[in-house]
Symmetry: C2
Subunit: 344 residues, 2 copies
């Protein structure tokens, strides 16, 4: 009952270690008879080859790394990341890859960061946001290790990426509010200087323009994807802009904060004020009131990212690809036809 290795298995099966290796790797050129003998022993002693040794010999670890920046506890817990990771994980497992999730944070020493991307360790890397992308790409530029980004990044056109169509999603949301009769529509957006935000802003502006509504620059704010930001901004606006009757939020978490601000200012949703979010997180349907939102295929995003990455790992010559996913408007209870005045 000792720890088995390939040699012992070979001995027990009365073959050489090469035969065992071939059987285990489904290589041709091994007699049915020998194969059976080996399989029998493997089964009997429950032998499993040592992954580490295999990695050393094949130069591939079947491990892929997922990197995201540590963005404070609040934003981590919002469900978006978990779902994204779940998509990645399950696709990887199906294709025989392990995956490890790491957080990048600026408070970590460089040594630690090196450690994360530790050489010869990962077959590929998925970057979940921009902070992480720059750092990773720079560190890995000379190595041949494939990278996939979640969220397009114009700075790296020859790297694979997956994203939802941010323009389209936002356009749909704002168009929907306009169709409900709203004209004074605020917009709270996420991270500044990110293409994603830029596209969403354009979607917002264009929808307004096309409806003949002049966008009011004071009605938009850019910050971060947090409840805190939604709360703070909406709190300010609730007092400052009594004419505002609807709000687009660039994430469900922002919407969650905004909803709370509205509640605290005694503005009832959707009777007096409509709110639409973005993401379609599982929790969005449990907000008060259940949130109308632009659902994106978060799980699918992760799945697709993993697929692109593994394809790239297994076929290095494959061309970089930018995949766009479709957003979908999910109507719930946080939106309604505009009401003449906020104070009924």
């Amino acid at each position: 009952m000792e720890k088995l290795n390939i040699d012992k298995v070979a001995k027990l099966a009365h073959v050489s270690r090469s035969v065992v290796s071939r059987v285990l790797n489904n290589h041709p050129n091994v007699s049915e008879e020998a194969k059976q003998r080996v399989l029998e022993i493997v089964e009997k002693y429950n032998y499993r080859p040592n992954t580490v040794a295999r990695s050393l010999a094949t130069r591939s670890t079947y491990q892929i790394g997922v990197l995201t920046s540590r963005i404070g506890e609040e934003s981590l817990g919002n469900g978006y990341w978990s779902l994204l990771y779940l998509g990645i994980f399950e696709e990887c497992i199906r294709r025989g890859y392990y995956v490890s999730l790491s957080f990048y944070s600026s408070s970590m020493t460089d040594e630690l960061h090196e450690h994360l991307l530790n050489e010869h360790h990962l077959d590929g890397i998925i970057c979940l946001n921009e902070e992480v992308t720059e750092f990773t790409v720079k560190k890995l530029s000379e190595k041949e290790i494939p990278i996939v980004l979640v969220g397009h990044n114009p700075d790296y056109p020859d790297i694979c990426s997956v994203d939802v169509n941010n323009y389209e999603g936002t356009y749909k949301a704002v168009k929907y509010l306009i169709d409900l009769g709203h004209e004074n529509i605020g917009g709270i957006f996420g991270d500044q200087n990110v293409q994603e935000t830029e596209h969403r802003l354009r979607g917002y502006t264009n929808a307004l323009n096309e409806a003949g509504i002049q966008p009011n620059s004071e009605f938009t704010a850019v910050g971060s994807y947090t409840q805190h930001d939604g709360l703070r901004t909406m709190n300010r606006w609730a007092k400052k802009f009594p004419e505002m009757t609807a709000l687009f939020c660039a994430s469900d978490t922002i919407a969650m904060g905004a909803l709370l601000a509205l509640y605290e200012n005694n503005i009832s949703v959707p009777e007096q004020f409509s709110v639409v979010g973005f993401d379609g997180l599982p929790i969005s349907r449990y907000l008060i009131p259940p949130l109308t939102t632009i659902a994106q295929p978060t799980y699918g995003k992760g799945e697709k990212a993993a697929r692109l990455l593994i394809d790239r790992i297994q076929n290095k010559s494959k061309k970089a690809e930018q995949v766009n996913l479709k957003p979908k408007l999910v109507i719930r209870k946080s939106t309604a036809k505009v009401n003449q005045t906020r104070t009924r």
Copy 2:
């Protein structure tokens, strides 16, 4: 600019490979002079030792696995898991360990499960819930790989575990409601047949008994830690038990669902009905109204689990330890003095 290995570095530094190895591992018995030469080359060529080869030689991978069951998207996204994982991750990184997060699900084939626990791959494992525990312990019983459980499990007294004091937390919550004057207090609990639930139920019952209130068995429900469960149960109770004026929820997610049910039934919180949650998730302060809850050190739980595990890995003879963390009542806006009647 070729790929470096220890031999090339040795050659460049005019020493033998063992000297390089010693320098890299901070072993004694290497002259300052040689050390400097090696370090210089390492720096100059940015050499990093190959982790895989090192693992093969040392028989330790410096990787630890975190296993949790795939519990549906809803419960994954609630923030508790992310926070727990973050605690684990950061402690591991500090101690030089990688960590990989895996989901166990019954829909996966056994082969895949084998794959997850793939032999010779992980130095240790942290199990985040019971479904996973049994499976893992069984698979790993013969190997010497350390395990730490998050959540005590009486079935495995000789395995390390970390948990919050569930009895105390629940007792505090219910006691608080009683002090507010509530007498008809419901309780929605999580997973059945888990020690955690048992302890929380006891905390609930004891608090009631000590206040001279006869617990009403119809006032408790056991289900799962989801918004859905809170919504469903509270919806039923809202109609069935008009005398109920307060509710303890075994998780903030359950409370979130309950809050929605109350909203939909036009019962206002906290004026007519008080709710207290459990966990103290970041989002709990953004619920409507902001939730009074029993905060547990979720991040700290993960951190502690990782600490226990790594201690065990580095010192196998260390005794198993059951760590209890302290819960804390956080008072916000979802609770208030009891009101005579629900229909004001």
